[in-house]
């Protein structure tokens, strides 16, 4: 029993990170109907911002950690908006495929520029948050895992509030529903889309810091695997749906952890992804997604 609970805890903390990255995928998709493949590399840049800044703030302090977290979020938001302005906006109105290919290009550009500027050797991420282990009987959880779960929950609730309770959120939903009509009623599409990218990338930045805190070895290709998993989590939860992304992330993290802890650990990705295929066979739009009829 205690092993089951411990694995559940491990799974939730891993899943929370997938969820955080998945939120960014899902937001951009929700508004623009396109997958921003560069998202997982913005996540990597977030970790590197934390790496360089972490050397200049007091280590192991709560405030130092928060400063690093917010700086990485702001840095990534700016990067996300810049990418949108330079790479995606000129293509808006064209075929969706063009933007998709560009997104893959931007992703590769970030990965390999990262190798040039940061170097390809794994770096050690500084311990910016104080870290201790809490034990409840046989159950052990590290403070970094708690931070991940708490921050992810807060950001998800915040995101939900922004999208459904604020003016800019209403504008985002309007653009998602029908960009032309939104423009007619006075919504500035450029500002809204830019904001969406900024917000999504800020989440990626936060994800990068939290991931690096838990797994303190960072390198320019670190975003590839978590990015892929998070993308799958977003699809699983129903892409475009915010609670869906969180649910998908938690589910994927938990399944992966249970397979990893079993005697079939050799086949962990195969089993985790096979389960996803089965779920998608029964719910093609994802767990919380709605089936949309394409209008011709």
């Amino acid at each position: 029993m205690s092993e089951f609970l411990q694995q559940l805890l491990n799974g939730l903390s891993l899943g929370a990170i997938y969820a955080l990255i998945a939120l960014g995928y899902t937001m951009v998709y929700g508004v623009l109907r396109f997958i921003n493949f560069a998202h997982s590399d913005v996540f990597m840049v977030g970790a590197f911002i934390g790496y360089y800044l972490g050397q200049h703030v007091p280590q192991n302090t709560f405030w130092g950690g928060l400063v690093v977290l917010f700086a990485a979020m702001i840095g990534c938001a700016l990067l996300g908006m810049l990418i949108e302005r330079l790479a995606y906006r000129p293509l808006r109105g064209g075929a969706t495929l063009n933007v998709l290919i560009t997104a893959i290009g931007v992703s590769l550009l970030l990965e390999y520029s990262g190798q040039v500027f940061f170097g390809a050797t794994p770096r050690t991420f500084p311990a910016v948050f104080p870290s201790t282990n809490f034990a409840f009987g046989d159950l052990v959880i590290s403070s970094n895992q708690v931070v991940v779960i708490v921050v992810t929950t807060l950001l998800m609730v915040g995101l939900q509030l922004i999208v459904y309770r604020t003016k800019i959120g209403t504008a985002m939903r309007a653009v998602a529903l029908n960009p032309k009509a939104a423009q007619l009623v006075g919504v500035n599409n450029d500002v809204v889309i830019s904001f969406t990218f900024g917000l999504g990338s800020a989440l990626a930045g936060a994800g990068g810091i939290l991931y690096a805190l838990n797994y303190p070895s960072i390198e320019p290709l670190m975003g590839v695997m978590p990015g892929l998993k998070a993308f799958v989590a977003a699809v699983l939860g129903g892409i475009g749906n915010i609670p869906g992304a969180a649910l998908g992330g938690l589910l994927l993290g938990t399944i992966e952890t249970f397979v990893n802890g079993s005697q079939w650990s050799t086949y962990k990705d195969a089993i985790a992804f096979a389960l996803l295929i089965i779920i998608l066979l029964f719910r093609p739009a994802g767990l919380l997604g709605k089936v949309r009829v394409e209008k011709v």
């Binding site: 050797t121 991931y211 952890t257």
Partner: protein, 377 residues
Amino acid sequence: MMRLRYYTGIFGCVAALLTVGQADEAPIKIGQYGAFTGKEAAFGVSARKGVMLAFAEANAAGGLLGRKLELITEDNQSKAGESATIAKKFVSRDKVVAVLGGNPSTNSLEAAPILQNARIPMIAISSTNPRVTEMGSYIFRVCFIDSFQGAVLAKFARTTLHAQRAGILSSANNPYSVGIAKVFREKFTAAGGVVAIEQKHSEGDKDFRAQLTAIKNAGVDVIFHSSNYTEGALICIQARQLGFTGPLFGGDAWEAPQLIEIGGAAVEGAYYSTHASPDSTAPEMQNFIRQYRALWNGETPDSIAALGYDAARLLFDALRRAGTTESVKLREAIATTTDLPGVTGRITIDKDRNASKSAVILTVKGGKFAYVETIDP
């Protein structure tokens, strides 16, 4: 008239001397491939530094066979497939005489068939998977093999750590890791121990809490991780977080300064087996350390650097004995290497083209690597 002839004579002599001294023939080209960037970079960079030291020394002594030696290094970026591409480049573009390299066995397994077909001798530096030299008669290595290392670690765990129950964590898609884990399991069981559980991870994984939770709950005294330092350091951190207090140990793939850098306090007291220790008092090792520090700003070499140096020296010795760069004769000379005094021990190439040598166990103490013991085959 006499005078003029006298001068011409002098000029003639000087000119003749210059041609001999200058070695107007093209330099002997030798290739080295390895991971100089990426997640396996620690191995490649160390090996290259050792090899470059050997080249600098040989060229300072006037080269070999009256020719200078030229080292051509290529980076495989720690990526699958790149080593094969580099081997092809060495064969067709650079036309090298011999190739040094291959640290992780996966790299050597890619390059070896191509070099074997081209009949270019290859000396693997720290590839310990037995299949590497089985690739063909032109493939050699200067290090011990997995079966030996697995046996050494099993013996160490049983006799020095007094472990009864061991847990193994290996990388499912890394032949080195799978091979060494298999031998460890056999030898540990044969020595009266019990392998309670074996869990797998994939290359590049960062989260091992699930596997470690299962291993810890199987009630083990020690955990053996048979893959690279990048994963090894994170495994130590997460095992300690989960409350595992017994020793953790790995093979020579744990040997890298990054193990301590990333692992911090969590790798304190961890052990690994490797090829040589800078704490050894053998004159070859002490001399090597002195030269290495002089060339590389006072840095202390690890055993991979020592193996790189030995691989290059083994090749130079064979070139000298063969008296030619012709590949059949060179191969013959490498294969008949006997009792060559190397930094990592006396090197004799056996009939399977492997070098049989003893292994050392090191530990992490106060943030530094420290010598524990030497274990013989």
